[in-house]
Symmetry: C2
Subunit: 350 residues, 2 copies
């Protein structure tokens, strides 16, 4: 395969093909070098894929999949029981070299379990992580892990830091990304043993490690990569979504309070629209699984077609920079030493 090829799981997510196919059309129009492998049930989406293919001749292929992984399906059940699902076949296509990356809006746990099983982790990486941009005062912050690993050792956190550094550097062009560990305020009770040990090892590493940051700093701080366990990362991410929705709702309530406030909403409409565009979570849609021997991008399950198109664009960028190989080569080099110098539990306890 010479041109760019991306496999799209067209059946998963809250809206399936209704969102995936319009998004595919958007990105095909932008990138003449792109071929899409649409994975889904031919009886349901065949006609639409044929129509898409006739608009972009030779650049759209349909791969039939007669199973779908449900949004609430257990990862282990999806992995064992849905071997002909659109999700599984899209990942298989990456493994087989038929696609450079795949994009799915399917359930995170099943997607991660399947991707890990099919693609395997990179050397020196124990666990893949989920990384994404989080909007911040400086544009955005990269944050990982956002939910793949509930409990993390110092080893895992250090590996996440090294991977986050590569993504910030290779994909986002940051010369010397500022990497920090997420922690809470008080000096003495700061973090747990894993965070403290990871902090010491990162301070001794070649990374531009700037120490601990708090939840506020993800959104306001001078930091490029925030590293945390997947539980805290998911809580931070979901909390930020909740607060943004809450504030949007309150703002709408205030503007629709009475005739006068409605009038001022009319006057402020261009500003409010521009503001809404800036905080639209769809702009940030598309989280990358890092640490795998292949590129998998997870779209939000409820993403609309514009948001899903953003996830495809992220896949394009990651292919362009060959993120898995970059992580692999970094971990094999000097900087990787930090990710591999794990202490044994006995040492840690002494």
């Amino acid at each position: 395969m010479t041109d760019l090829r991306i496999a799209l799981d067209a059946m998963s997510g809250d809206h399936g093909a209704a969102v995936v196919l319009p998004a595919a059309s958007q990105v095909l129009a932008e990138r003449p070098d792109l071929t899409l492998l649409i994975v889904g049930d031919e009886s349901q989406i065949g006609a639409e894929v044929t129509a898409l293919s006739s608009r972009y001749p030779g650049r759209v292929e349909l791969l039939h999949a007669d199973e779908v992984v449900g949004m609430d399906e257990l990862p282990s059940r999806a992995l064992r029981g849905k071997k002909r699902s659109s999700m599984r076949l899209a990942i298989n296509a990456v493994k087989a070299g038929q696609a450079h990356a795949c994009v799915s809006a399917g359930n995170t746990g099943a997607l991660m379990a399947t991707a890990r099983f099919v693609l395997k982790t990179l050397p020196h990486i124990d666990r893949p992580a989920i990384i994404s941009r989080i909007p911040s005062l400086n544009g955005y912050t990269l944050m990982l892990d956002l939910g793949a690993n509930v409990e993390c050792s110092a080893d895992h956190l250090v590996q996440f830091a090294a991977m986050g550094d590569v993504v910030a550097h290779a994909v986002h062009g940051q010369a010397s990304p500022r990497v920090a560990l997420l922690n809470i305020g008080e000096e003495e009770i700061k973090g747990n043993d894993a965070i403290r040990e990871a902090g010491q090892r990162l301070a001794d590493s070649d990374l531009n490690y700037i120490g601990y940051v708090e939840g506020t700093d993800v959104f306001l701080g001078d930091v490029d990569v925030v590293v945390c366990d997947g539980f805290s990362g998911n809580v931070a991410l979901k909390s930020s979504e909740g607060v943004a929705k809450l504030i949007g709702t309150l703002l709408r309530e205030e503007f629709s309070r009475n005739a006068l406030t409605k009038l001022s909403a009319l006057a402020a409409r261009p500003v409010l629209k521009s503001f809404a565009r800036r905080i639209d979570p769809g702009n940030y849609n598309g989280a990358s699984f890092v640490g795998l021997q292949g590129t998998v991008i997870k779209s939000h399950g409820s993403a609309d077609s514009n948001a899903f198109a953003n996830a495809i664009r992220i896949a394009l960028v990651e292919i362009d920079y060959d993120v898995p190989r970059k992580i692999e080569s970094l971990l094999a080099s000097s900087l990787g030493a930090v990710a591999q110098q794990g202490v044994t539990p006995q040492q840690a306890a002494s």
Copy 2:
């Protein structure tokens, strides 16, 4: 002591007496039954306290303290080395029965360590927790622990749930508070062992336990009390503060983009002001330490005088409802059984 008496740590926090004394004046004017014990350095605040006392005769007392606990001071150092600090003497006053509660804007770790050492925990409570209201679509959600305990066992989480239930019921008048555990999305990898075990025990309890919620639900969901470890709780709280500030900044940027947008800001000013009041974190200032044999309220370190006054008002409410005694009696009764039926480590491991 018959009337209400509250001890105020007048020296701690980012602004010390400059915020505490105006706040004291506000609340004294509202509550004629209130006497304040102002704890601080007489040479620095003596004149102002005398002026305050002359406006509210017989209702303001000064307790001299010549030490201050720094905002970055280690809790253990503050506890051992600052026995004459304003923070310590304010808590001592509660222990000695000279005040019904104390309020401090000092550093959380030192305040918690000192409060725990001086006041002791209630029977059946292993660890005190920090609880506060978090703004939500339904008004507010109570959340604990917000940062006192980094790692929590199932026992701790169950005790937090019982205490949150009491606060929601006794202080906030909720007949049957909906209690939930904070967790992350995926079914199979949900939480750690402590969360899963706590979930099982809460499901078997008399509490109105509604299961797991995610970070979004704290701000949008139909839940009254969200229970979590102090690390996740602190991350959720700080993230929400960060997002709120970020959104406020972006909104201001959009409205000050050019002459036209500035004009529309002028038109929208009453709406934006009313909106700003609704999301002002000062409205929610004042976190309670629960699980102690006494009432301690922590104000945000950077609170202004209106916000600090809110923290004093929370102390008044907690005194009114005698929260520590309510928690104690509930834990001694049937409902408390759930918080006490902890399994031994051997059982848990088997």
